[in-house]
Symmetry: C7
Subunit: 96 residues, 7 copies
């Protein structure tokens, strides 16, 4: 099943490995509100400007991105994997 | 009865088969708030930009789309079938 | 008395026949919040864009339109008939 | 005393004759919230678009207009007559 | 002390004579919410449009203007006189 | 320490002499909400318009300006002096 | 780990030395709400205007900036250091 995000949306799989790397350290609740990392597995073509022009995307398929914890809409993709549909404007930074 | 959605609106028939495919598994209530799939049976010509230009549609008749559960306006079409009128901006992704 | 709607407004007479066609079936209250049909008896010239350009109308006099139940402003026209003044943006679809 | 409305504003004298024409019929309170008619006795030159262009007026001096009951600002003009300053966007239709 | 209003602002001295002309008639409180007259003693050069263009002023120094009672910011000018700084968009009409 | 305000911001030192000039007169609390005077000690290059164009500043370094009492953000500059960073749009007038 | 802020965002490390320079003086709570200084360690390429044009950044990598205390989103970077992702519009001034 291919998912093609619309406009400036991105299909992102949250990076859960990052959390386990920290070993057995205690992570307080407030830390859980920190931005999360994820991998972009599909990107839309871009939003349309006020006059209809296509505004190019800065984020591309394969990028690792940092985004606000409560951004986007949760969906299930193949193999019941959790994924998110985010707008590019919800992405804080590309990590590389 | 033909229905021609106005502007950037779409006439969508929700895909109820998707729900039954999951067999007899228990689906918790929160899952019901997940986006839904539907089939586009008619699409408007597009919205007008601030200066009146027609902004072309990215979604087309025949596409299967993913949209937020509470998006759009419910209507009844032929044979008392449930359908929705959505704006293209309520569509998260095209599935294919 | 001629009424010429201003800008992107439409003068619409609600289609009350549609309701009676359903015979004597019980219609629950929620169904009453569904969009309504009406006939456009006059249409404005269109709204002005941000820079003053006239944005053409997609709906025309004589069209049958679907609109949200609580849209527009109620007025009385000739022979004490109920009518509505709607903006084109309140019209969901043209039915034909 | 001449009053020149600014921008897209109109000076309107409410048409009180319309109410008395209905004879001695009982008019319920809700009906009083219906739009009102009035005569335009002065019109501004038009609003300025985002980039400063003058957007021409659709309503002109002498027009009879329909407007929302609670629109505009009440003023007193010559001979202590009640009048309103409305924006053109508050005018629903021209009656003629 | 010269005061040069910025952008589309106006320096206005409220016209208090208008109130006394009415003699000793009783003026109810609601009437006090009516628009007020004032004399423009300085006008800004105009606001800048979205793209930086100067949008010319319609109101000029010396005009008598009608403005909403609670518009603008009160200041004291020479001789402890009460004055207001208004935006042109708060001016309803020019009186002449 | 040089401070270069960003965009359409201004670095302003409030004019406290103005208050003491009034001698020992009693100033009621409401008067304290009146706009204040200050001296512009640094000005940004201007804001960027919607399409990226630089919109020139009307206020310049050295101007005495009138601004709303609660505008801007308080900072400390050299010698622990109180200063404000204001946007040009918070400036009501230039005094000269 | 390289972090590339998106659009008009900046990666900033708060300047904690500034606070200790003040020695052992008592700093009241309200003072803590004052803007803070930080060093820009990475800057985005700029935001896209309404029509898609890239609007250039005024702040650059290496600048020391003043920003509102509650601006931006906290993240952890290398060596568990606290950093912020800010939008350029949250920056009040460049200090140099």
């Amino acid at each position: 099943m291919a998912i093609k995000p619309l406009g400036d949306r991105l299909l992102v799989v949250p990076n859960t490995e990052g959390e386990t790397k920290k070993g057995s350290l205690y992570i307080p609740d407030t830390a859980k509100e920190r931005p999360q990392e994820g991998k972009v597995i599909a990107a839309g073509a871009g939003r349309r400007g006020d006059n209809g022009e296509l505004v190019p995307m800065e984020v591309k398929e394969g990028d690792t991105v940092l985004y606000g914890k409560y951004s986007g809409t949760e969906i299930k993709i193949d193999n019941d994997q959790d994924a998110l549909i985010l707008r590019e404007s919800d992405v804080l930074a590309i990590i590389g």
